[in-house]
């Protein structure tokens, strides 16, 4: 990244404040790992990716749309082409879970010009020292396509999706920028 000021300006034009926050957090954690030069930290991050993407985000979605939720027409929300996802709890014993953190962590290591840990036993050792990220429920305002259609017909404006989180994001972004 050659011009940070320009980068942030570009980001502000194209992204919402919550995604700016995510990206900046990402950049900061990358710098942190590079400074600490610690494979242990990368393994933690990789495990974090797993928990965010395959566990926590699914739980967020299920909190919003439980299996027995009915849509405005009284039909079950999870029906037809919509399949209800199940969160996956991380287990280092599961070969697929292990494969994900192993490859994700080593990809990051290669990105940062660090030596990947190819030995699975050694990697397991690092993984054994990581902690599960606690699940904090995130409330996201989502409207289904049907709801959006109904709203447009009624002539109401689109709800501010990120409205409630906007106030939270701005100070964090400022802080992140100062830190960088």
């Amino acid at each position: 990244m050659k011009d940070p000021v320009d980068f942030v300006a570009q980001l502000r034009k194209t992204a919402t404040s919550s995604s700016i926050r995510e990206q900046l957090t990402e950049i900061r954690s990358l710098i942190e790992i590079k400074q600490s030069n610690s494979m242990q930290r990368i393994v933690e991050i990789a495990r974090g990716y797993f928990e965010t993407n395959f566990d926590h985000k699914i739980r967020d979605l299920k909190a919003l749309f439980p299996d027995d939720k009915l849509d405005s027409e009284g039909q079950p929300f999870w029906s037809g082409p919509k399949r209800s996802p199940q969160p996956i709890t991380f287990s280092a014993e599961d070969p697929l879970h292990f494969s994900f953190v192993f490859n994700a962590a080593n990809l990051i290591a290669v990105n940062l010009c660090m030596e990947p840990v190819r030995d699975e036993a050694a990697f397991r050792g690092l993984l054994g020292q990581t902690q599960a990220t606690p699940y904090v429920q995130k409330l996201i305002a989502v409207e289904t396509p049907e709801e959006a259609k109904a709203r447009e017909e009624a002539g109401r404006p689109a709800p501010q999706t990120a409205a409630n989180s906007d106030d939270d994001d701005e100070p964090v972004i400022t802080e992140l920028l100062a830190g960088l």
Binding site: I88, F100, N103, A104, L107, N111, C113
Partner: protein, 225 residues
């Protein structure tokens, strides 16, 4: 320093396909969709389209038929066939291959403005000269060629890399006579030697000492260890 990873499906040690495989299968598990193996992931992510069905299968068959003839001990060139297939026309053409082209000495070559002698007369593209004397300097290499082939060398190349040229102004390459051939190759090409390969294929040019004529010879397999 950060390095962006360029997706490469054919390197099995770079974690790329394995990462994609793990990620997509975990998402599949979220939704209870049938998971797939690494090869399937590689085919989809690498946009590999199986094309064995038609032409490839025919070519494989034609090539195998030729191998069988060879394995049966046939050596008459007329018994072998060169196959041309175009499924769109459709055209299936079998022809007798020519004899391998033999290099002939010429009295006058319009480019060199003089005679060129083949060493040995009538060599083909399948011939090579093997020098298996261990690691050599250019000086030692030239000495070997002088004793065994009776030639004086003025130029050495390896692929697209010029290793030695006697005609440079001020005889710039003279110090290389004392250097190992493979060392100069590394230095000039800026590349490491291929691991596990103990030779370089080099081409030499120069004159025959006895007659002063230019010569051409097959590529040299220079074994340095």
């Amino acid at each position: 320093m950060l390095v962006a990873a360029d997706f490469e499906k054919d390197d099995d040690s770079n974690f790329h396909i394995d990462y994609i495989n793990a990620t997509s299968n975990l998402r599949a598990r979220n939704y209870k969709i049938t998971e797939c193996d690494r090869n399937k992931t590689k085919m989809i992510a690498g946009k590999i389209i199986p094309a064995i069905a038609t032409t490839t299968a025919m070519i494989t068959g034609a090539v195998c038929a030729e191998i069988i003839k060879f394995a049966q001990g046939h050596r008459t060139i007329g018994k072998f066939k060169n196959t041309f297939i175009n499924l769109a026309l459709p055209l299936f053409l079998f022809s007798e291959p020519d004899d391998v082209k033999k290099m002939k000495s010429v009295e006058f070559d319009p480019i060199m403005c003089g005679p060129i002698k083949m060493l040995p007369e009538g060599f083909t593209c399948y011939d090579k000269v093997t020098i298996n004397e261990g690691s050599m300097t250019f000086g030692q290499l030239f000495e070997w060629l002088k004793t065994n082939k009776g030639v004086e060398i003025s130029m050495v190349t390896c692929g697209a890399v010029a290793l030695y040229n006697m005609y440079l102004p001020g005889n710039k390459h003279a110090p290389r006579l004392e250097q190992k051939v493979e060392d100069v190759y590394k230095q000039v090409s800026g590349e490491e030697l291929v691991t596990g390969r103990n030779y370089l294929q080099i081409e030499v040019g120069g004159t025959i000492i006895e007659s002063g004529e230019d010569f051409q010879m097959p590529p040299i397999k220079y074994v340095f260890m």
